[in-house]
């Protein structure tokens, strides 16, 4: 039960998520990458909770899950409606909100 391994896994997962957000164009994939970053953070919370013998980190992980579930609902519906109007899910196409 090496603490560093868990933290390292969390960091790797987070970095994969972050790179996914930056390099992928498909909104659904970007969304999945965001979920991966959230779960990486959850893993770190749970790990520290276990190490400190406190339940706080686990509680926060549940909160994050709930918020993520709510966010998924809103995010997916936005992506669907964008797809319906523009016939594409590429986030580079949805770039009207600019100077």
């Amino acid at each position: 039960m090496e603490l560093n391994n868990f933290i390292l896994l969390s960091a790797i997962l987070f970095s994969i998520g972050a790179v996914g957000v930056l390099v992928r164009r498909n909104a659904i994939v970007v969304f999945m990458s965001v979920e991966m970053m959230l779960n990486a953070a959850n893993l770190a919370f749970v790990t520290f909770a276990k190490a400190n013998g406190s339940i706080d980190g686990q509680v926060i992980a549940f909160f994050v899950m709930v918020v993520a579930a709510a966010e998924v609902v809103v995010g997916l519906s936005i992506i669907v409606s964008i797809f319906r109007t523009r016939r594409t899910a590429s986030i580079d196409e949805a770039s009207l909100l600019k100077f």
């Binding site: 957000v21 390099v23 970007v30 580079d92 600019k98 100077f99």
Partner: protein, 623 residues
């Protein structure tokens, strides 16, 4: 009747309100209402006088408190009317001459489509002038003072479609503002020094005031008087004010409003009595204006401007008279009343002449009008005899008394008034000769005719006043003892005796009149004014360069100042403001390029930001 004295002001004010608010609906009967209101006010004035006559001299002063106007701590300014011998004299002059001029205007303005508005303004003037003379404190007097200024402005510019009239009105207004600064300064000084602005309390406090305070207040009041009464150095507006309709010139710019300065100084006699410097200043101003006005009068071919110069000169006499102190107050006011009669009469005569000559004011186009306008000739002639001071006409009595009082003050002031009398005789004879005598120089399509009854009857009444008013006031009404309780009176001591002075004065008047007669009645008057004239004539034709002086000393520097201020405002103040806005605009235009709309670039910036913050936290944490 004294209790109803507020009707004096209320009647003409109501007339003005009805005519101005009623608009075109009142066109048909507006002139009749205006005249009725003025006559009604005159009636109330006469009734008040009769009641006053029944009382003894000491009881005649009545204060009618109407309501409190300003109440701040111990400072009280009521709206109250002061009825005494001085104010009732003015009330009767204003409403009496005013009513006659209302009647005259019915005929004179008959063909003017704005006649109703003219009568509304006349009523407004009467109301304001009555507020001025009936007020029992300087604040309320100020209200009337500004009110007559407004009415004067509106009436000078009555024919607003003429640019010259509009300019003249504006000029009168602006020059009067300069004088008004003096009045407001005087009121403030009184408040600071005495804590009150009521005539009675100021007069009482003045007795124990320091000479310096009294001098400053006196000089400030003199400035106010100079503006309103067209005295040097604020005289330039009066000649231009002749652009207004002739009844206005007769009422406002000869008989009543322009004499307000004399009233103001006489009312403030307690202050001047303890301030010899201020008194001397009043005498000097009066003396300068008396000669200046007379000289300007000698060179004018415009009959109304000639009379305007004469008005300045005659008011100069009055101002000089009130500057003499208790020996002069009564006679200055006496001259004011007689002048009100004969000068208003002559202005109405001039209006009648213009009426018959297609509004031509150039006397070089007149000549021999005595055959065509007998009534105008006779009434104007009465005024002429009165103003040059031929006994027993009104002007003789009043002017002679001022000359005697002036000699008792010093020989110099006496000689100034004598010279003034000589020049007056010259320019009035010139005017009389050019208009009514000599050969007819009428323009081709002009057929002079006598004016209608509504115009000639007021002229006749005023000419009767010019003939007998002086004797009536002096011997029957006994004006010295009548006014003495208000302004004080002393017999003039020193100086030459009347038995010497009267023949000398009359001789000088006769010389002046003879010179005028020889020059303008015996010789042919050229149709065009000669141009090869002496430098003095040129100066007099240019109003002794009053306008040139004002333009060079006040107007041009003022214009440069305002122009440079506008330049600074445009370039410096606006430059800073616009520059700041421009800078922000340019920076913002560049900054907004970072808003690309690409979600991934925003995410990259966020990641980089987090990395930077994390790095800083790590470095700080290690240290």
């Amino acid at each position: 009747m004294t209790a109803y004295a507020w009707l004096l002001v209320a009647l003409p004010l109501a007339g003005a309100a009805v005519l101005l608010l009623g608009g075109k609906r009142t066109n048909a009967w507006g002139h009749l209402l205006g005249t009725a209101m003025s006559l009604g006010s005159f009636g109330v004035g006469v009734a008040t006088l009769i009641e006053m006559l029944a009382k003894t001299a000491e009881e005649r002063e009545t204060i009618i408190h109407l309501w409190d106007w300003i109440v701040v701590g111990t400072f009280h300014v009521p709206v109250a009317l002061q009825l005494d011998q001085l104010s009732i004299s003015f009330v009767l002059l204003i409403t009496g001459v005013g009513s006659l001029i209302h009647i005259y205007s019915i005929g004179y303005m008959a063909h003017d489509e704005n006649r109703r508005k003219f009568f509304a303004y006349l009523n407004l003037f009467i109301a304001a002038m009555l507020v001025l003379v009936l007020a029992n404190n300087y604040m309320l007097l100020y209200v009337g003072w500004e009110g007559v200024g407004l009415a004067s402005y509106l009436l000078i510019g009555f024919w607003i479609h003429k640019p010259s009239a509009a300019t003249a009105a504006k000029k009168a207004f602006v020059v009067n503002r300069v004088g008004d600064v003096g009045l407001s300064l005087a009121v403030m000084l009184m408040f600071t020094a005495f804590g009150t602005v009521t005539f009675g309390e100021v007069n009482a406090a003045a007795e124990s005031a320091s000479t310096q305070t009294a001098t400053w207040i006196g000089l400030a009041l003199l400035l106010a008087a100079c503006g309103k009464s067209a005295q040097f150095p604020l005289q330039s507006w009066l000649l231009d004010a002749m652009e207004g309709p002739t009844p206005v010139s007769a009422l406002i710019h000869a008989a009543t409003m322009v004499t307000a300065g004399v009233y103001l100084i006489a009312r403030s006699h307690a202050i001047y009595d303890i301030a010899p410097i201020a008194q001397t200043a009043v005498i000097v101003i009066g003396g300068i204006t008396l000669i200046m006005g007379a000289i300007i009068g000698t060179a004018k071919d415009d009959i109304k401007k000639g009379l305007a110069g004469s008005t300045m000169s005659q008011i100069g006499y009055m101002i000089l008279g009130v500057g003499l102190g208790p020996v002069g107050y009564v006679f200055a006011l006496f001259h004011l009343i007689t002048h009100g009669f004969f000068k208003a009469g002559m202005f109405l005569g001039a209006g009648s002449v213009m009426h018959g000559m297609h509004d031509d004011v150039n006397m070089r186009h007149y000549g021999n009008l005595r055959t065509a306008m007998k009534i105008t000739y006779a009434t104007f002639g009465m005024g002429f005899l009165a103003i040059i001071g031929i006994p027993p006409f009104a002007g003789f009595w009043s002017k002679d008394e001022i000359i005697r009082a002036a000699f008792s003050h010093s020989p110099l002031t006496g000689i100034v008034t004598l010279i003034g009398a000589g020049i007056t005789a010259f320019y009035m004879t010139r005017m009389m000769a050019m208009t009514f005598f000599g050969t007819a120089r009428w323009q081709d399509d002009v057929h002079p005719h006598e004016s209608p009854k509504s115009m000639t009857i007021p002229m006749m009444i005023l000419s009767i006043g010019s003939a007998f008013g002086g004797m009536l006031l002096l011997f029957v009404a006994n004006i010295e003892s009548w006014l003495e309780p208000v302004v004080g009176f002393e017999h003039a001591h020193g100086g030459p005796d009347s038995s010497v002075l009267i023949p000398v004065t009359l001789t000088i008047v006769a010389i002046g009149a003879m010179m005028g007669w020889v020059q303008y009645a015996k010789r042919e008057v050229p149709l065009l004014a000669p141009t090869d004239v002496s430098i003095f004539t040129k100066a007099a034709r240019a109003d002794l360069y009053g306008d040139t002086f004002n333009e060079a000393v006040f107007m041009r520097p003022g214009q440069y100042l305002t122009r440079s201020l506008v330049y600074v405002d445009n370039k410096v103040v606006d430059g800073v403001v616009n520059g700041t806005a421009g800078l922000v605009g340019v920076v913002a235009a560049q900054l907004r390029r970072t808003q690309t709309g690409f979600v991934r670039s925003y995410a990259l910036v966020m990641v980089l930001g987090v990395v930077v913050i994390g790095a800083i936290a790590a470095i700080v944490g290690m240290a």
